[in-house]
Amino acid sequence: MLFDVSFLKKSLVAAAVIIIVIIIVGGSVGYYSMTKPAPSVTSVTGVTGAATSGVEQVVRIGDTTASESTSMDPAMNFEDLDPIYSMYDRLVTYAPPDYSKVVPMLADSWDVSPDGLTYTFHLHSGITFTGTNDTVDAAAVKFSIERVQAINGPPAWLLRPDGGVVNITSIDVLDPLTIRFTLGAVSGSFLPIMANAVSSVMDPNLIAANNGTDFGSTWLNEHSAGSGPFSLQQWTRGQELDLVANPNYWRGAVKLDKVIWTNVPEATDKIFGVERGDLDIVGDLSPDQLPLVSSIPGIQLVRNWDLTTVYFGMNLKAPITLPNGTVATPFSDRRVRMAVKLAVNYTAIVDVLGKGVTIGLGGFIPKGMLGYDPSLVPIQDVARAKELMNEAGYGGGFTVTMLAEPGSQSAGVAWADMGLEVRQDLAAIGITVNVQVTEGATLLRTYRARQAQMVIMNWNKDYSDPDDFTFPFCDGSLSHRVNYDNATIDSLITQASQEVNQTKRAQLVVQAQQLLYDDGPWVILYQPLIVTVVGAQLQPLSAFQNIFWFDYWQMYKVAQASTTTSMIMIGVADYRRLLASFSCFFFDT
């Protein structure tokens, strides 16, 4: 007989037994190893020694950096830059929460020529790259910037010689510690871009030794060539990205041994993980989820305002059919645009939908950036709005379509919810808003083709300079999409862009915002806050106040009383937590 049934039976039983034994043995081993981890432990010197000794100095971040990041080469990556900021230093940096000016980093000081076209940086002496004895010098800076231009990757638009945001015409090494940049045109964006990850200073010798066919780009996904507080240990795509401390960091001792980005896409995993202490830092939680996390003893919430403006726009040339059957372009009338601005209930959006993750904003320049105008506060005045509609001849109202993306804005407020609030507000002045949730790519295509009647979106910083906001909102990518043009404002922002004196520049930007508030196509809704959930052991919170990156090199972990108290009782709060995790799974995916 080819096949004996008893064999099948026996093998099934055997398989079951083996699996059960493996699970039980493995389980006990696993539980043992989990309750009694034997990590490498470092005592941190310089910070309250007793509290940190015996604590594993490893920080775990639960997000999608390890799976979604495209590259760890500063010249190839424009998103998920947090690890790059920790591996590389730049000439200058920010002193958050003020992003309106830069402060020294690799450069101790710099001189700007009176015409604003030449910047001469004086480098700090005696800095070496991690793992080599190569000096961080002017030649390395020149090499790094020219490398970005040559690779021409995603972030190269910031400093390309032809048509980049900053037109760098030449980079000259004056002596090993002095470097001069010459610009083709005055640009307030130059220094902020020098603080951006794209301007990371890299070790030319190390890159040359691993150049390959792509300027070392592939090699840089497994290694790093910077002078920063950490260096890349390994990157298992989709799984985790590990940085190890640079033992000789020039700005001071690095207290952590390791920083690990673990791939955790699911909000529920993030919440459970940070509460159980498996994750130390998580973000991207919605306003509904935050109360669940903040109620846990010891958990710390850090709120930073993001350099982002949430707005909705009105297309001046969009044909709209009126109730009497005629087709008109109501938004080409300044009074209709103002009526819409006056009809919106900003408080409801910021305080009710935003639930503490948003702050009100009047101009398009967010708080923290040069040119922010706190006096510009949007007001709701429905009576005046109705008058304006009548004056403009649209008393009978009309119907428009507002495009909104599925999902939520970065602070976690759902686009559709905001759309519905606007719909309710504008109904009071006779405008019927149909909120149409449209997938991102399709929405952008319609918007870019200047065919969207109304769009609700946000504008996120690329670097901290008002030019990154003034041009799109007044005379660039965004304003063109809604067919808005205003010569007075255009000349104001061009003047601002070329102004060397930062105080004068800020005044010009404020002026442009005021004019745009009175005349423009935008209803500015709010500025989102980025809320980061920090585990109970991680200190200090001041290392989290930067919205471009976190200062991992200043962080350390302190001992904490065991959290393995009896948690088996399931109470009402648990049901809420569970329900919230189901709902967030639905909305996130």
Binding site: I23, G26, N221, R237, Q239, T262, E266
Partner: protein, 336 residues
């Protein structure tokens, strides 16, 4: 020899399947009115940058040239370079696929080990309490959404009880040295018992969640075909000969009932391997589902096509194994 010939013929049939799948995926991804270069470079890409990348990736060529280039690469085992990760697609699949294989295999083992006895129990206790209990279990298995079960288990086992949570291994334990990419196998090969323990307990929950529906289907299939076999004359004869019920059930009925069950098992393995997206998301499991989702978001044509080819090959292979198992289970079936 006939068997070898049969296997060879079936493997040769893979070629038209791969050509078909890659052609279809190629056409579908190119029909999407979106530009992967813009997706990669971002909104501010300058025309010169776009042009340079178009040339580098060959996207400036006519579609048929792109197609033949791709098929030429495919013939040489080259799936192209991923737009998103900038690595060969094959290397990406190598790093993501083992996680899925491990999870799906565990899920299938779970389904067989629990599904078959449950089905037998149902059939031998038809319309009695064990059968009703098994029916409820099966109905829950096919009705409970994967994400709901996954979140519920994570909540109870991980959050409330402090058991193993998401991920392939405990965060404080280093993964085993990579040999096959399967954590369980690698830990055994490198005698890393701590990693073995942790990766095994981390497998239990996702494997249960992923395999629950399959368990239900297998148990129902076993029950149905067992009932059919048990009503056959030869079973009656066997009983009439005074054979013990154990021998009748296991020796005579089960084997004959196995053929449809094998089909279900084989096809389930295919669908487990390719359909673990939700389970992988909930358990932060870095497998092929996660890779595919990221690729789709990034409009990464080469990765999407490569993954589709892999999934098609899995189905074909699973079918082949099922057909081979038929001949093994029923000597009357001749392959060839």
């Amino acid at each position: 020899m006939a068997l070898l010939g049969y296997v060879l013929r079936r493997v040769t049939l893979l070629i038209p399947v791969i050509i078909g799948v890659s052609t279809l995926t190629f056409i579908i991804t190119r029909l999407i009115p979106a530009n992967p270069i813009i997706a990669f470079l971002g909104e501010f890409a300058r025309p010169a940058q776009v042009l340079a990348l178009e040339q580098k990736w060959g996207l400036d060529r006519p579609l048929y040239v792109q197609y033949f280039r791709y098929m030429d690469g495919l013939a040489h085992g080259d799936l192209g370079i991923s737009i998103h990760t900038q690595r060969p697609v094959l290397a990406d699949l190598e790093s993501f696929f083992p996680a899925t294989v491990e999870l799906s295999t565990a899920a299938l083992l779970f389904s067989i080990v629990f599904g078959m006895p449950l089905g037998i129990l149902s059939a031998t206790h038809r319309n009695k309490a064990p059968d009703h209990a098994a029916r409820v279990f099966a109905l829950s298995g096919v009705s409970i959404p994967v994400f709901w079960l996954g979140l519920l288990l994570l909540f109870v086992v991980y959050y409330k009880l402090g058991g193993p949570g998401f991920g392939r291994i405990d965060p404080s334990i280093a993964p085993p040295t990579r040999i096959t990419g399967l954590y369980v196998v690698d830990s055994i090969l490198t005698s890393n018992w701590q990693a073995l323990g942790s990766s095994l307990v981390h497998l239990v929950m996702p494997a249960f969640v992923l395999g629950y529906a399959t368990t239900a289907v297998i148990s129902r299939q076993v029950r149905a075909s067992m009932l059919e076999v048990l009503s056959q004359d030869y079973i009656r004869s066997a009983r009439a000969h005074g054979l013990s019920e154990r021998v009748v059930i296991y020796k005579h009925a089960l084997r004959n009932a196995m053929i449809p069950v094998t089909t279900v098992i084989g096809l389930s393995y295919g669908s487990l391997l390719s359909g673990a997206v939700l389970t992988e998301t909930i358990f932060a499991w870095p497998g092929i589902g996660l890779y595919l989702v990221n690729s789709i978001y990034a409009l990464d044509f080469p990765s999407i096509t490569g993954t589709s080819i892999l999934i098609a090959m899995i189905y074909v292979a699973a079918n082949l194994v099922v057909d081979l198992a038929y001949a093994y289970l029923d000597p009357r079936i001749r392959l060839g």
